[in-house]
């Protein structure tokens, strides 16, 4: 199965846990595309660096647009204002790490 790796940057005034981050992304996907759409994303969190506010998530390449739109629609995490910006997308984790220097 072909996959896409997304490096994202979190903007929030409060610290964000791994669980909160993934819950927020899943909620956004379910809100916009429903449970059927969410089931096709094959989403998982690969790496999270809370001190740098950076994370890498992986999804199915067919669901890339779904995940991108859902991540862009996030305006709060755990009830506090926040935003998640997609920094880079790559087909392999190695290439993403090289480009992002994470």
């Amino acid at each position: 199965m072909r996959r896409r790796y997304l490096a994202v940057k979190l903007v929030s005034e409060q610290p964000i846990s791994r669980e909160d981050l993934m819950d927020t992304i899943w909620d956004a996907i379910i809100q916009l595309f429903g449970e059927y759409g969410a089931s096709q994303t094959d989403l998982s969190l690969i790496q999270y660096q809370p001190e740098k506010n950076c994370a890498i998530v992986r999804c199915s390449h067919k669901a890339l647009e779904v995940v991108k739109a859902s991540i862009a629609s996030i305006t709060e995490i755990s009830g506090k204002p926040a935003a998640i910006h997609i920094q880079m997308i790559s087909g392999t984790l190695k290439a993403l790490l090289e480009k992002c220097q994470l």
Binding site: A69, A72, P81, A83, H85
Partner: protein, 246 residues
């Protein structure tokens, strides 16, 4: 390399810190040009202050005014008053007569419809035909799409999908702007392209709505506001008596 513009940033003008934060965020997100909604009674000192903030973030400032007339007569009056003072004029169409008049007036750059009241989105076939003849663009603001949830967002997406299809059919340019009131509502152009796919706007059309179209509007208006402008295609290139007599 493609250059991007956000034709509607809405920081509080009275708070220079917020303006500075939002403008530097725009620069960080990859925008080269931002338009800030400016009240009509703004002083030149304030505009210079905004230009200074934008200059330090390496972003080109565009002065923009949002007009919301109640009648067609008021619309014409406001256009006469403000067209020569602002680089971009956006008309918030609150009623059908105003929307029709705005669509056929060449001095209007952007047609904006309220997102709060979906009954007042008058962008139909007739409006699009008038707009395509007058070179006006349809503005789609993204902040309401981020702020609304549930049924109101479903309705907004449905209307935006219809409006984008009508604009495509009648060749009306679409401008996508953020309408952000704080940094948390600001997104990069590519994030907005992903959001625009929710109302069936293709990637290339959405990218043009952030780059070529806003830049062409600003270029055209800056040329018209320049003291050397005479008429479309005619401008003063040299003055004095060195020109040969014919």
């Amino acid at each position: 390399m493609r250059r991007y513009a956000d034709l509607r940033l809405c920081p509080s003008i009275e708070d220079p810190d917020q303006v500075e934060r939002m403008v530097s965020k725009s620069s960080e997100l990859g925008y080269h040009m931002v338009a800030i909604s400016i009240p009509p009674n703004i002083t030149q000192t304030k505009i210079r202050q905004l230009q200074k903030i934008c200059g330090s973030a390496d972003v080109d400032l565009v002065t923009r005014i949002d007009l919301a007339p109640q009648t067609s007569k008021e619309l014409l009056h406001l256009l006469r008053r403000f067209r020569r003072r602002f680089e971009v004029i956006s008309m918030i169409c609150d009623s059908k007569p105003v929307a029709r008049q705005a669509a056929k007036d060449r001095r209007v750059d952007l047609l904006t419809f309220p997102a709060a009241n979906l009954q007042k989105r008058f962008f139909d076939n007739a409006e699009a035909e008038l707009a395509s003849n007058a070179l006006s663009s349809l503005e789609i603001e993204m902040a309401p799409l981020l702020l609304l949830k549930g049924l109101p967002r479903i309705r907004l997406l449905s209307i935006l999908r219809r409006e984008a299809a009508i604009a495509k059919r009648f060749d009306v340019p679409i401008v996508i702007s953020s309408g952000a009131t704080d940094e948390y509502l600001m997104r990069s152009p590519h994030d907005y392209v992903a959001l625009a796919s929710l109302f069936d706007m293709g990637t290339s059309v959405a990218l043009r709505a952030f780059s070529e179209i806003p830049f062409s509007i600003v270029r055209r208006n800056r040329e018209k506001l320049s003291p050397n402008y005479v008429a479309p295609g005619i401008r003063v290139v040299k003055e004095g008596n060195c020109c040969p007599r014919v």
